[in-house]
C-alpha cells in the first residue's frame, strides 16, 4: 500500500480546509456530518459513539498537531477518510499536549475483503511523521493541492 492510495478513500466533498469546530467533539461531529451529507452513512450517532469511545481509550492526537480519530464500525459501508484543518488549533489531549491542526478521520467496516484499514492507518502515521509533509498540509489551500501533495 502507498500513501497515494489514500485518495481512493477521500474526496473533495470530505475535505474541509478550515473547520468551524473549536473543540474535539465539534470537530468529530463536523467531519462525521460530511459522511451523512454524502449519503455514506445513515446513523451518525453510532459513528460518533464509536469515535468518542476510542478517544476514551487513549487520545488519537499523535503529536505535532495531528489527530487521526479512527475505528471500525458496523455502520460504515466501506473504508472512508475525511480531512479537516484548523488554523487556530483544537485541544485534543494529544500525546504531546499540543493543539491539533490537521485531522484525518478514518472509519472502516468490521470486515473488508482486502483489509486496507490498518495498513492505511499505518501509512498515514508514517506520512505525517515527516515534518515537510505536515508543513505543506498546513499551507495548502485547495483539494487539488492536497491531491498533488499526496501523490508526490
Amino acid at each position: 500500500m502507498n500513501i497515494a492510495d489514500l485518495l481512493g478513500f477521500l474526496s473533495e466533498e470530505r475535505f474541509i480546509p478550515e473547520l468551524k469546530a473549536k473543540t474535539k467533539d465539534e470537530a468529530l461531529e463536523e467531519l462525521t456530518d460530511l459522511l451523512v451529507e454524502a449519503n455514506l452513512i445513515r446513523n451518525k450517532h453510532l459513528i460518533l459513539e464509536m469515535l468518542h469511545r476510542r478517544e476514551s481509550v487513549g487520545s488519537t492526537g499523535i503529536g505535532h498537531g495531528i489527530a487521526i480519530p479512527h475505528g471500525r464500525t458496523t455502520a460504515a459501508p466501506e473504508l472512508i477518510i475525511a480531512f479537516g484543518r484548523s488554523s487556530n488549533g483544537i485541544a485534543w489531549e494529544a500525546i504531546d499536549g499540543k493543539p491539533v491542526h490537521l485531522i484525518f478521520l478514518v472509519i472502516a467496516p468490521p470486515h473488508e475483503e482486502d483489509n486496507q484499514y490498518l495498513p492505511m492507518l499505518g501509512k498515514l502515521v508514517e506520512f505525517l511523521h515527516d515534518e515537510n509533509n505536515r508543513k505543506k498540509l498546513l499551507e495548502i489551500k485547495t483539494y487539488q493541492e492536497f491531491e498533488e501533495l499526496i501523490k508526490a
Partner: protein, 113 residues
Amino acid sequence: MNKNQLDLLVALQDIDLMLKELDDVKQLGFEVRNEGAEALEKAREELTQKIGKPLLGKYERLRARYKRAIVPVKGDTCLGCFMRLPTYLITHKDKHNQIITCEGCGRILYWLE
C-alpha cells in the same frame, strides 16, 4: 424499544471490534492507555445491562459461531452470507429499527442504506 436495542447491539459489536484491534493500533503508534481495555470491558458490561437477555444471548451465540453477529445489508444482499434477501424484508417499513435476521445465515441485519 427495538430501535434502541438494535443501536445498542451495533455499539456492542463496535466495542468488540475495538477490543480486538487495540494492540494493532498501539503498534502503529497510537496511544492506548494501560487501562484502555479494562475501560472498554466496563463500557461493554454497562451496555449489555441495557440489552434484553434473550437478544444478548442471540448476539453472543452468533458471535461465537460467525465472529460478527451483525452484518450489513447492501442493496438487497446480506453481506454475511451474500444471499439475496426476500422482498418483504427489503421493503420492511421498520427495518432500521427492528431486529431482523437473515434467513440464510441467521445473523442480525444492519441496513446501510
